[in-house]
Amino acid sequence: MLTIHNLHAKVVGKDILRGINLDVKPGEVHAIMGPNGSGKSTLAGVLTGKEAFEVTEGEVLFEGKNLLDMDPEERAGEGVFLAFQYPVEIPGVTNNYFLRASLNAVRKYRGQTELDAAAFLKIVKEKIKILQMPEDLLKRSVNEGFSGGEKKRNEIFQMAVLEPKLCILDETDSGLDIDAMKAVADGVNALRSKDRAMIVITHYQRLLDHIVPDFVHVLSEGRIVKTGGKELALELEQHGYDPIKAGMAGIAD
């Protein structure tokens, strides 16, 4: 589904991604862990088309198409979704309005008919239950004044409504209390299917107890330095990144 080959990217002239290789197949869940500043959000941003990031080398194929050639909205239409580490507040646009505009834009891109208010509401009611999100959040401006946890839940709620093929979750677990974590994990798990892949960026084993990954990758200084199964996450939780970094010392640059 997604093939990343030797991906290099810069931000304001600084090399952040320095040769990423990753292959994600439908149905798989990949966890990406790594120290602060290692480039995890940058990778997510490059995959979704954030302008600030300049790709200097490498390629990214999504279902055989060159993802890097597409505008952000086209990538969303193709089925790439990022649950942001820091969801953006948009005062003056209600969540409801935004979500309908978004769903209809994506449906249009996919050659489906646009939904009227009633049909849209039906979908929304169904999904909002899974995430146990209070309905009044729909009537409020997008993320404005939402608590940290509400924002994260709102991201997964959008994901549930848009039904993307590739879900990228950037630290969706940070800032969530135990119940919210469970609700978010349930929301994500409800979306797991053999056709859908997930990339879960996290610092904690906790989320991975709920969303069990097929692979765990460690990103350090812009490269994937270690890949393992779900047990790698536990190992990192116990020993931190230092042993891996130490192992890398001779290889870097």
């Binding site: 505008d71 952000p72 909205e73 969801p87 953006v88 948009i90 646009v93 935004f98 401006s141 848009l162």
Partner: protein, 423 residues
Amino acid sequence: MSAANLWDRWRETMDKTTFTNLFTPFDRDNAAPKYRALRQSGRERLGSLAWPTTRCEDWRFTSVAPIVETTFALPVKCDDLKLPAATNTLRLVFVNGRFAKALSAPIAAGLQVGSLADAGANVALLAQIAADKDNAFTAMNTSFLCDGAYVVISDGQVVEQPIEIVYLSRSTDKPIVSHPRTLIVVGKNAQATVVERYQGDGAYFTNAVTEISLAEGAVLDHVKLQQESLQAYHIANTQIVQGARSTFTSHYLSLGGALVRNEVRVRFDGEHAESTVNGLYLASGKQHMDNFTVIDHAQPNCASHELYKGILDERAHGVFNGKIFVRKDAQKTDAKQTNKVLLLSDDATINTKPQLEIFADDVKCTHGATIGQLDATQLFYLQSRGIPLDAARRLLTFAFANDVVNRVKIEAIRAELEERIVR
């Protein structure tokens, strides 16, 4: 050129045309004889005034030269104008300044709402509120006064349904001028909602004056929707006098016109009155929109909240001038002024000028102005959810306007604005 000269020139063109034929029975001297004295006084005033130039402090950023240099023809009669969708059934329609009975909805019995030309029009306060002492455009409006709208709400009367006044303009081959006059009087503890609309086709000049009086405890919600043609000039002076404990809320939405000046003047004439003065102006192309507001805290214990938002695209030029006067005895004044501008292009310009003159010491006065562009992070967020860049820009533009739009209580108007901004 002096105002008097211009007036002479216009009169000359008028006299040369088939003035009497077209205007009968509305010609300036034969029409509405009851206003002859008022017209005369307006004309005299005009004779003593000069047109404002950009050397006048209050007109620094707006030149009226394009108006002064145009020779306007007389209004012609036309019946085939498109009417905006009705937001209600209480509606007065004026075409080129004249009451068009056939296009208007019958006014319910018990309401003093109608054409100023009506024999029974209640016009006790006409020309008592708008000051023409130093306002040539207002003096000119008065010197042509013979028709317009009046809305008089009796003491204690509560009119739920909005009263809509539509001023339509249409030129044929030459630009025409009209001088719409509106008088709104809300009696003691009475309540009403009034919508003024200005629209038209072609090149023309609308020189509007609206006078509003709120008696003790009166409540008025006032919407003005300026959607003139893109070749039109629109100069409007709206003056409001508020009695004790009255509540005035306005939403002035300015979308059309090539050269536009919206003047709003609120004066508190009693204590514990409240005024909310909101405005939204949208300009693109080479439109010029000047918003000039004056809030005169002439009495203690009054509150004013002013929120003006401008959205300027392409080569549009916006002006916001917000004066707040707090007189010596106006203690416990609470005045707040906010002006926000969204620039959608590098070529759009805005001049803003808050002007607070405070002569009382126990007052709360704040003002703030911001000028900004669309937020790249927000745009990316919308795009990442599949919304194309263009639509994302329009959505964020609407979001910017939304706090002004949302306060309009008439849903049909909110929908109209949304349609205009988002689609």
